[in-house]
């Protein structure tokens, strides 16, 4: 089916040249070596990979073994993203993760042994009952592990999850907002002290190890998504594949592109997205870049907005860029909403 979608997409767009690949969404590390080899063959058949610099597999600890890792390397993967979320077994079991710290450690070791020299670890903070000390321990653990890249997300409670139910029932409580922010500040401070550079609201990397793939989303570059629920931005059009595996396969069985056009971006849409994704990057948005993309300056497109946000202490302007301030990192949505057109 994946192959079918690649075939249909390549009929539409031709053989696309890829800079980065990210195999994610769920747990692709569950794939068997044979599956992985098929996946590799599809990718190599339908896409031009001469400019490929970053090829990441997402994985969950406990689902990896040496053979799978070796196969990933063989089909060209050079980066591995691992979901740890927390270094506390208690927290991990509370959120229903199947792994614990020990299984993670084991997997991490295998990954390194397989030759992956670019590893990213995903963390979450602000879990129910979590303390600032717990988070500092998480961070201490990370800095001893020294992955090349770290993503740390403030916990989002998704609707319909067990966690939401437990919170509603009062079985668990979230840390107060100011404690949650202190957790974030701890990440910022401790990772910086350990030599990491924060380059996005929730992302840190050792120098030169920023994710090229993620930056495409924030830098307004085209991307193509294959598989159920995958999204694409191609030539100013956003597509979303159906979430349901059945609906997705049905389209393909009928030789149709499963992508549903979500929007044909207008200039206003484009500008809105350009601003709120670009400002997620700590570097911010280049005034010149905006001018050359839209043929007008930010101040012309958004009269008075930048100045008022600077006044509110949420935005800073320096060296030809505007970027979020420390306070702006906490209140990003307040900034982004001002750039909605």
């Amino acid at each position: 089916m994946l192959e079918k979608e690649c075939k249909i997409k390549s009929r539409k767009y031709g053989k696309l040249s890829l800079d980065t690949i990210f195999v994610g969404g769920g747990t692709p590390s569950l794939l068997s070596p044979d599956n992985l080899r098929t996946l590799g063959r599809i990718i190599h058949t339908y896409f031009d990979l001469t400019n490929l610099t970053e090829f990441t597999f997402e994985s969950n600890p406990g689902t990896l073994d040496a053979e799978k890792l070796k196969t990933m390397r063989e089909i060209g993967a050079n980066r591995l993203s691992m979901g740890l979320q927390s270094s506390s077994d208690e927290t991990l079991s509370l959120i229903g993760r199947i792994h614990n710290k020990a299984t993670f450690e084991e997997s991490y070791k295998l990954v390194r042994e397989a030759g992956f020299d670019n590893v990213s670890v995903d963390m979450i903070f602000g879990f129910p009952n979590q303390t600032l000390e717990d988070v500092k321990q998480d961070i201490g653990y990370l800095t001893s592990l020294k992955p090349e890249h770290i993503s740390a997300y403030s916990l989002m409670i998704d609707e319909g999850t067990m966690l939401e139910q437990m919170l509603d029932d009062g079985k668990v409580t979230l840390p107060p907002e100011d404690v949650e922010r202190q957790m974030y500040y701890a990440y910022r401070e401790m990772l910086s002290n350990a030599g990491y550079v924060q380059y996005e609201i929730s992302n840190w990397a050792q120098p030169g190890r920023q994710s090229q793939h993620n930056a495409r989303y924030w830098r307004d570059k085209d991307y193509i998504g294959i598989g159920p629920s995958a999204h694409s931005l191609m030539l100013g059009e956003r597509f979303g594949n159906p979430d349901s595996l059945d609906t997705w396969s049905e389209s393909l069985a009928n030789d149709q592109d499963p992508g549903i056009l979500q929007e044909k971006r207008s200039i206003d849409d484009h500008m809105t997205e350009y601003m709120f994704t670009g400002l997620r990057m700590l570097e911010g948005i280049s005034l010149e870049g905006f001018q050359s993309t839209f043929g007008q300056s930010i101040d012309e497109a958004y009269p008075g907005i930048v100045d008022s946000l600077i006044e509110r202490g949420l935005l800073a302007k320096e060296n030809g860029y505007i970027h979020l301030t420390d306070k702006g990192l906490d209140l990003g949505n307040q900034v982004f909403v001002e750039f909605v057109r």
């Binding site: 403030s154 989002m156 922010r181």
Partner: protein, 601 residues
């Protein structure tokens, strides 16, 4: 009386909400074939969206029907619709003065209600003949004989001949027609006397200008005539006149004494037409105008401001148009330190205020902020002068005030007897003074009170409904003014006064109300970048205080390819929400905050 006038009946329908007035009107219209079945929409007369939704009549509408009586003759029946709520007794009086008779519709399961009573008395005062009709006789709970006895006992009119009908299920409708023709008087104007036409309503039409609704009491008028409005003195040449049909107009050559119709005369200036004025011919004027309507003064005042200050002119235009169709609505420009330029508006009551507000929002697409409603207080100053205060912000400093008076109303509340305790408690909370209680029959009583008007302009009606499961009905009349210990309550946000939230309150109620309101404000004002203290003051003294905590965090942690569209939609929604807020210094206050003032209970 001319032979022609003998074949005309001008009448209105009086009923309590839900007793079936609009349904009966529909049946009459349907039976006379004014509309084809296809054109017949339910409840033809209530043609404002808002009226249909609330099931009440706000704007009087009229329709002309032709009915062939059992005597073989054709009769012209002019039905003039009347509003049904206590706030609109003025509109009722206008409609009544245009008629000779009134149909009183009583729900035979529920009997006479307080509001009906008030309107019936108004009709009797206007010398109208009353024709009682017992509706909904086919309901299992109907007791037409009890309702008949009640009409006779409570209102004191003969109901022995009252038709028993079901407007909904078309039972006995012809009997209503027969009774209209047989018992309601025909008009008896002098066709040859100088013209006297009563202006009982007016509408604004974008193409034709002002359309005047009139009941011709004496004389005649035709297209081309120059008419004079006797009170305003302005003159116009008639371009078109005619009769009403549901939702429209039928032009004719002339209107004669006893007829009801409309006049169009290229009237552009809405202020030239006052309802209650008398139309006469410029060339042969009547010696004196018709006895006027009661001059109606607004009972409740509040400020209305555009949410976006740049929409002041649009708001003004919308209000001018509304005023044309609603003579009871008053407005004049005012300025608020917090809200900028807006209008001080006068209303008949709180429902009237809500309706104007909703019409501005729905029909004119305005985003508005309404300030705390106020009644007119009489402020006796130490220098001996008295001011009528309709805006709490204009209250002079306490050192200049000798004493204040507030308006008091006589209220009658009709209720099944099991709710008497609840009502007594409610009225006591609202400083009501008990006067009397009468049994209407074994199950129902009527309670008489005196209550300060400022206690009922807020949520009294809602509270009454909720404490009596909707069974109590309520009516009031302004009785006079009484001295009272009143104070002004001010609210400060982030250290700045928001004058639009100021209101005047009885001193003993000030503390609990200030505390409650501060709490409510805390809940409706969204968290902002900074901590926002809310303080309630009397004079220089803080009596309540709450704090809207600053938000520490408002950021989405994850935003990758698949999240962008969803995230953008969320931001767009957030932006829409911001539009519904008004910026006060550094604080954003949503529209709802101003509505919280209205809720006491």
């Amino acid at each position: 009386m001319s032979e022609r006038q003998k074949h005309i009946r001008n009448f209105c329908i009086i009923a309590h909400i839900d007793h079936g007035k609009s349904t009966l009107a529909d049946r009459l219209i349907e039976a006379t074939g004014v509309l084809t079945a296809r054109e017949m929409e339910n409840q033809v007369l209530d043609n404002m969206e808002l009226e249909k939704e609330r099931g009440i009549t706000i704007k009087a509408q009229s329709v002309r029907m032709v009915y062939k009586h059992t005597d073989g003759e054709e009769y012209i029946l002019n039905l003039i619709d009347t509003p049904g709520h206590v706030d609109f007794s003025y509109e009722v009086s206008r409609s009544l003065a245009a008629c000779e008779g009134a149909i009183l519709v009583v729900d035979s399961a529920q009997g006479v209600e307080a509001q009906t009573l008030a309107n019936v008395y108004l009709a009797i005062d206007n010398d109208l003949e009353i024709l009682p009709v017992l509706n909904k006789v086919d309901l299992p709970s109907a007791d037409p004989e009890a309702a008949r006895t009640e009409i006779e006992d409570v209102i004191g009119i003969d109901a022995s001949m009252a038709p028993c009908i079901s407007a909904k299920n078309k039972i006995n409708i012809p009997e209503v027609f027969d009774r209209i023709i047989d018992t309601l008087p025909a008009p008896s104007g002098d066709e040859n006397a100088p013209l006297k036409g009563l202006v009982f309503d007016s509408y604004y039409d974008t193409y034709k200008g002002v359309i005047v609704h009139t009941s011709i009491k004496d004389g005649s008028v035709k297209a081309g005539d120059t008419i004079r409005f006797m009170n305003s003195g302005s003159t116009y040449q008639i371009t078109e006149l005619g009769y009403f049909k549901p939702g429209g107009y039928v032009p004719t050559k002339e209107l004669l004494a006893g007829e009801v119709g409309y006049i169009i005369a290229s009237i552009k200036n809405v202020r030239d037409i006052t309802v209650g004025d008398t139309i006469t011919l410029d060339s042969n004027p009547a010696s004196e105008p018709l006895p006027g309507y009661h001059d109606v003064h607004p009972m409740v005042y509040s400020g209305i401001y555009p949410l976006d200050g740049s929409e002041y002119d649009e708001l003004k235009e919308a209000m001018e148009k509304l005023q044309l169709n609603d003579a009871a609505f008053h407005f004049e420009p005012e300025t608020s330190a917090a809200l900028g330029f807006g209008f001080r508006c006068g209303f008949l009551g709180l429902l009237h205020m809500e309706i104007i507000q909703e019409r501005l929002e729905r029909e004119y697409n305005m985003d508005i902020i309404t300030t705390a409603p106020s009644v007119i207080y009489k402020v006796h100053k130490t220098d001996g002068t008295v001011i009528d205060l309709d805006n709490p912000s204009n209250l002079p400093p306490t050192t200049e005030i000798e004493f204040m008076e507030e308006p008091i109303v006589s209220a009658s509340i009709m209720t099944p007897k099991e709710y008497v305790g609840n009502i007594m408690q409610l009225v006591q909370e609202r400083r009501g003074v008990y006067l009397d209680m009468k049994y209407l029959d074994v199950t129902r009583v009527i309670l008489e009170y005196e209550i300060p008007l400022n206690e009922i302009i807020y949520d009294f009606f809602d509270s009454l409904k909720s404490r009596t499961k909707g069974y109590a009905s309520f009516d009031y009349d302004l009785k006079g003014y009484a001295q009272s210990d009143l104070v002004k309550l001010d609210f400060y946000m982030n250290g700045e006064i928001v004058d639009a939230l100021s209101f005047i309150v009885f001193r003993d109620n000030a503390y609990p109300r200030a505390r409650k309101l501060a709490e409510r404000l805390k809940d409706v004002i969204p968290r902002q970048q900074f901590e926002v203290p809310i303080q309630a003051y009397i004079g220089g003294k803080i009596i309540a205080r709450e704090t809207v905590r600053a938000y520490r965090k408002d950021v989405t942690a994850k935003c990758y390819g698949g999240d962008i569209t969803r995230k953008k939609k969320l931001l767009e929604k957030q932006k829409e929400g911001k539009k519904r807020m008004r910026q006060f210094g550094s604080v954003e206050i949503p529209q709802e905050a101003f509505m919280e003032i209205l809720k006491i209970d």
